[in-house]
Every structure is written in structure tokens, then in C-alpha cells.
Symmetry: C2
Subunit: 411 residues, 2 copies
């Protein structure tokens, strides 16, 4: 078969897949151009309704109503209100998620609180039992750094292990376990239900980082009995650059959530201005200081793109997109030039494809010049994220084709 | 003298003061209406250049450049770049301030790092000496709550004392001292130079909260040898609702700044994605996670209103405004109806006036209905903040007059 006819075959398949795509219409809810944007796992594209909303927040809510907006424009309650908008996307009932702070700060809150819930740490006295924090050794670095700090500050030892080895190290000493749902580098999806269940069986507290899964696949926090979870909102949730992260605390654990960052926003009576701290009930115990309203309300608008969209349909399309990408890469890219690090089994795949490639840095630069935007992760990984809300099969075909031409030097 | 002629006298004085006000022209750099806005110490008014800037950040930087903006639009370096814009306003040389996170989170970073710098805390072993964190007992509550957490997590005891009593309690056990530069409630300005000097003499580390002073009066961080400082940016710096706070770490202490929140943004090589943490040099060691760009770049635009404005001229006008307000209140408000909690001595006064008033909650509601916006602090305080950049003497006269009419029931 000539290269030309192979191309045509993939193009025809892409057209058919696009025609049958029930999410195709959602793309118009975003501001996009003719770039193939496969970096939504780093920064989601701009939802079309966000600029107008932000303008209203700045000009009317801040500029005209000023201080009155804390009540009248719902600023004060935004963290829990927007948390409730994220809840259905991660399989949580309302009242368990608050939005605010960065993912790193939320990992710290969650992990310290988890250790305290487990009755572990320095406060429990030497030899009191649970003194180990287990962390995914392959995690996004910040989780590891913060976990180290949380362990240090609670008198625990940090134990980094590969996620698959977690069940083997759980025991009477395990206080808390911090895992990533999807590996940021390879795109591997870890088995949240069975790992959570193993952690619970060991009497430890589970903390999941959902940065690379929320908005791309079903998480099922409530269903699977996850204890605590955190995630960012600027990837598959399209909240904008550095938009605030969120914290999930399972309802049954909220009363024992003892935050290391008990800011005034988490007080039972924040405007009582009392010198004694008394934590609020419920999810808002996870709040800290004054929420950054501009970024937060941009996120609120961004979450409207989910209207009428189920996470299950997103997951189905995501798998179809990554399957098709791997298939097109196999056709277009010379054998041996790249190697997929992403599991071929659906149950182990997130919504990205990571390709190992010797000259990945250079290759990504050339792809971007040709209108295919993914990202490079040192030292040798090409990362392509597939956001089913706005990426189509035609985009996938084009990305793989340009990749093939680029690595073959046929630019 | 009749009430009518008294009024006229204050009106005439206001006109003269406004005519001589060298900062009068700065008011046009803000979006204002006919409301007398005396709540800039809670939420600064909207600078006129902010809406256009935010629109550009949303539509072009995020919407068109997307991920490229982390480099091309300077997103990645925003925390330290904007820190350098704040630096001259608080008397700091460049390279010592980073912007990001809330004030509460920055208090936590600063206080834990301070305790560690003092060689104190649990890590130093029992009996190792400095095990006390002194905190302003009259502080804004969140500082006290966070200080309690920082003390607990570093094995220290928290000792709340009135700022005036701080020198008396300093000693070999003092690790760190957290003080507010201006009391949020009464508007009292504490003596930063002498307190900082006493703290240094005791071998402890000073941490100042500048929320209610930065942008309203000279702080002189470098000059007075302050060790660490934090502040918000949405009051006298007009950064917008919940805009990010900042952290100052004196240059000589940067290498020993050991953050409890060592997120990936503070890594020496953040994109190296290395599992071992290695802190960056300089101020950016105080960064944590991904900065919230929308709020941060709105702040950057807001700081442009300071062009050609000196903090000294702002301080001079601030004192003239509060003097004039107290004078007008004395004329317009029936004797004994309100009582000023704000020191009459200039050296002890911030940029607000707090009036105790039995029915303060009700009175503030009525003032707001009549276009004079201050705020109410439970249980009985009327708070009026004076932002010299946009408040004039005519505003002051009107506010006091409406207050007099309101408390006299002459609405």
C-alpha cells in the first residue's frame, strides 16, 4: 500500500468518526482556531462564555458594586458553590468539595488532615502506631515535595513506591496514601477502586490527586469510598491559567478534618472576628483565606460547557480518540521512531498519549510550528492530551500525520 | 453658631484642601461614581486600566496563545515580577518579594520558616531552646488561627500578647513574633522600627503582616531590618477581590528560608520534574503551586496607578484626610454618640478611622443607603478607610455630615 493511500484511509475513518460523534457540537462552546490543540491536559482552551463573564465580574461586580459583591454577587459562597458544580464530574454528592488555593496547597491540607485522621503523627506520641505516609513514586513532583513536608511536619516517614506496589506495603504503620489517578507523564490510569479499597482495609486514609483525570473520565469518589481528593481545574475543566484547585472531603470524615491551614474563611463564624478558632461544619472547613474571585468566577463560567454532557460520553470519546491516535501513529510514523508509554489497555489509559522519542524537545518545537500543539516533558517524552469536548478525529489524524512527517524529516 | 454655618465652614475647608491636593488627579485613574467609598481598606476600587488588561489576558493570552503564554506572555515569571512592583511601596529592594496564595497561606509559610530559622521547634529536639511563637493578641483573627497551627506543627507554644507588651515577653525562648503593622479594627499603627529592633535583639525572627498598611503609609522593610513580611493586595493596592497576597523574605535570610509548602514552583529547576526537592535561590523559594494568572495580572495592571506617586505623599494626604474626618465628626456628630478608637497621635494612626457606636450595624446600613460606604465590624465598630489615591476632602466632609444626620435620626 502506498503512503498516499494509507493517508486517505485514515482521513476517511476520521470523517466517519467525526460524523458519528455525539459531542462534536460541544466544540462550538470554545474559542478555537485551526491549531490542533492537544495540550488541554496542561491548559484547557477558553470557553466562549468566559470573556463576557469575566468582564461583568470586573466592570460591574467589582467596579460598580465593589464591596457589596461579597454578598450581592455571591463572592463569599463561591468556593462551595463552584465545588458543587465540580462534584457531579467526579462522582461526588453536593457538599463535599470546596474550590480554592493551588493543588499543592490542597495536597498539604489533605495529607496533614489524613495523617491526623489516622490518629498518627507526632501528636500521637512516639510509638503510637501509624507513622508512614505512602506516596506514588512516579507522581507529579509537587505532590512528592509536599508529601515530604507533610510527613516531616506530622512526625511521619515518607515511603515512595510505585502505585502497583502500594498494596504490598500497606500495614499497621500506614497513616495515609497519596496517589495520582492518572500519571502525568505516561498517561497511565491507576486502579482507584481497588487501591482505595486496599487502603481502607489497611486502616489508612486515601488521598487521590485527580488533576489528570477529572473531566476526562469517571472518577466515582463517593461510589468507591475515596476519603480525600484534590485536583486542579485548568486542565480538562478549562478554568483558565492557574485557576483555583479543589478539595474533596468525604462527608463522614468532615467532622474529623483537622486542617493545617485553618484560615478565617474556614471558621464557623468568619465575621465574628473571634480570637478562638472554631471550624465550620462541612466542606467549607477546607477553605483558608479570601478566595481569588476573578479566577474563581472564570472557572464557574467555564463549567457551564458541561451542560448536557455526561462524563461517560466524554470517556467513550476519549478512548476512541486515543485509540485512533495510536492507530494513526502506527500508520504514519516510521517504525521504531517513537514508542508509546501509554498503556494499550483501556482500563489503564487516561486521556493522553505519551510517546518516547529521542529528540522529543526538537520534535515538539517543530510540531508546534506546524500547528500541532502538545507538550514536551523532559527528557524524552512527547505528550498529547485529548479533550473530548473540543478535539475531533480529524484533529487526531492531522496530528499523527504531521508527527510522521516531522520525525521523518519530511517537513 | 448655628448648625448651618458650621456645615458651611467644613465645606469651605474641604474645597480648599481639595484644591491644594497634589494627588487629586490620581482619582481619574479609578472607576468611581458619586458614592463616597471609604471601604478601600477592605476592597480597593477598580483601577480604570484593569478591565482592558484582563480582557487581553483572557481573550488573547489565554484564548489565542493558550499554553504558549506561560512563556510568551510572561505568566511564569509573574509572581516575582509583580513582587518587584510592590517592593518600592513597602521599602524593599527588588528580589525579595513574591506574589501568590492568600495572606493566610503566606502567614503559615512565613511563620513556620521563621521558627525554623530561629533553630527552634520540634526538629531541634526537646529543650533545644526557642519554643515560643509570640503573636499579636489583637490581630486579625486569621493570623492568630494560622499562628496557632504553625506553632502546633513546629512543636512551639503560642503566646498571644498585646503589641505594646511584646518587648516585655521577648527572651531566650522566643522563636518568632507575628505582628500586624496596623490593627484592622482600631486603625492603630504599631511601631514597626522599634518592635523589629527589639525582636532582633532578642535573637528572634520578626514577621509583619502589612495588610492594613502597605499602600497607605511607608513601611521601610529593608531600612528597619524586618525579617519576613506578608500582605494582601486587595486593599490599598487595589488588586481586586481576593487578588493574591505577597511574601517578603529579607535577602540575607533567603538561603535559610525553609518553606513548609515546597511546591514545584519553588524548585530550582521546576521543569526538570525531578523527584528530589531542591529549593530555588532567592525570593521565588516562597512560591508554591501554579499562580492564578487572571487575578495576578489584574493586580499587575492595578499597580500602574502608582506611577509618579510617592508613598510619602500618600501618607501625608492620609493623615490630612483622617484628621479632617475626625474634625468633621466632632462638628457634625452629637457629642457622645460615637467614640473614636483610632489614636489621635499621627505616629500611631494608620489610614482608617474606627468609631465605636452602640448601633453600629444599623448605622452602617443607613450610611450605605445614603451613598457613604464604610464597613461594620462586630460588635460595635464603624470602620472608615481612607485611600488617598481616590478619596478627597469633599468626600470626607460629606461622609461625616451624613453620619451626623444618620445618628441624629435626621435622615
Amino acid at each position: 500500500m502506498s503512503e498516499r493511500s494509507e493517508r486517505s484511509e485514515q482521513v476517511v475513518r476520521a470523517e466517519k468518526l467525526d460524523a458519528a460523534d455525539e459531542l462534536a457540537g460541544v466544540r462550538s462552546r470554545f474559542v478555537l482556531d485551526d491549531v490542533v490543540y492537544l495540550d488541554g491536559n496542561s491548559l484547557g482552551a477558553l470557553p466562549a462564555n468566559v470573556p463576557g463573564r469575566v468582564e461583568d465580574v470586573v466592570r460591574r461586580q467589582w467596579g460598580e458594586l465593589r464591596i457589596r459583591s461579597w454578598e450581592e454577587s455571591g463572592w463569599w459562597t463561591a468556593p462551595e458553590r463552584i465545588g458543587d458544580l465540580i462534584a457531579p464530574l467526579v462522582g461526588a454528592a453536593a457538599g463535599q468539595i470546596v474550590v480554592g488555593d493551588s493543588t499543592s496547597v490542597n495536597v498539604f491540607k489533605a495529607l496533614v488532615a489524613a495523617v491526623r485522621m489516622a490518629g498518627a503523627g507526632a501528636g500521637a506520641g512516639a510509638g503510637a502506631g501509624r507513622d508512614e505516609v505512602v506516596v506514588d513514586a512516579t507522581t507529579f513532583p509537587t505532590d512528592g515535595y509536599i508529601a515530604e513536608s507533610a510527613a516531616r511536619m506530622t512526625g511521619c516517614t515518607l515511603r515512595p513506591v510505585a502505585p502497583a506496589d502500594v498494596p504490598g506495603v500497606l500495614g499497621d504503620r500506614t497513616a495515609a496514601v497519596l496517589l495520582n489517578h492518572v500519571d502525568y507523564r505516561t498517561g497511565r490510569l491507576h486502579d482507584l477502586p481497588s487501591l482505595t479499597s486496599a487502603i481502607r482495609a489497611a486502616g489508612a486514609v486515601s488521598v487521590w490527586d485527580l488533576c489528570h483525570s477529572a473531566g476526562a473520565l469517571p472518577v466515582g469518589l463517593d461510589e468507591h469510598g475515596v476519603d480525600l481528593a484534590v485536583g486542579c481545574t485548568y486542565k480538562y475543566l478549562n478554568g483558565g491559567p492557574g485557576s483555583p484547585a479543589y478539595l474533596y472531603v468525604r462527608r463522614e470524615l468532615q467532622d474529623s478534618f483537622d486542617s493545617p491551614l485553618p484560615g478565617w474563611n474556614s471558621h464557623a463564624e468568619p465575621f465574628g472576628m473571634r480570637s478562638a478558632y472554631e471550624p465550620a461544619a462541612g466542606a467549607l472547613r477546607g477553605r483558608v483565606g479570601t478566595p481569588d474571585i476573578l479566577s474563581m468566577l472564570a472557572l464557574e463560567a467555564a463549567l457551564e460547557v458541561w451542560e448536557g454532557v455526561s462524563v461517560e460520553s466524554v470517556r467513550a470519546k476519549s478512548l476512541a480518540l486515543t485509540d485512533f491516535f495510536l492507530e494513526c501513529v502506527a500508520s504514519y510514523v516510521p517504525e521504531g521512531r517513537v514508542e508509546s508509554l501509554t498503556p494499550s489497555t483501556h482500563a489503564e489509559r487516561g486521556s493522553q498519549v505519551a510517546l518516547r522519542c529521542d529528540d522529543a524537545g526538537d520534535v515538539m518545537k517543530r510540531l508546534i510550528e506546524r500547528g500541532v500543539v502538545g507538550d514536551f516533558r523532559a527528557p524524552d517524552v512527547l505528550r498529547f492530551g485529548f479533550t473530548p469536548l473540543y478535539v475531533g478525529f480529524g484533529d487526531v489524524e492531522r496530528a499523527a500525520r504531521v508527527l510522521g512527517e516531522t520525525v521523518a524529516g519530511a517537513v
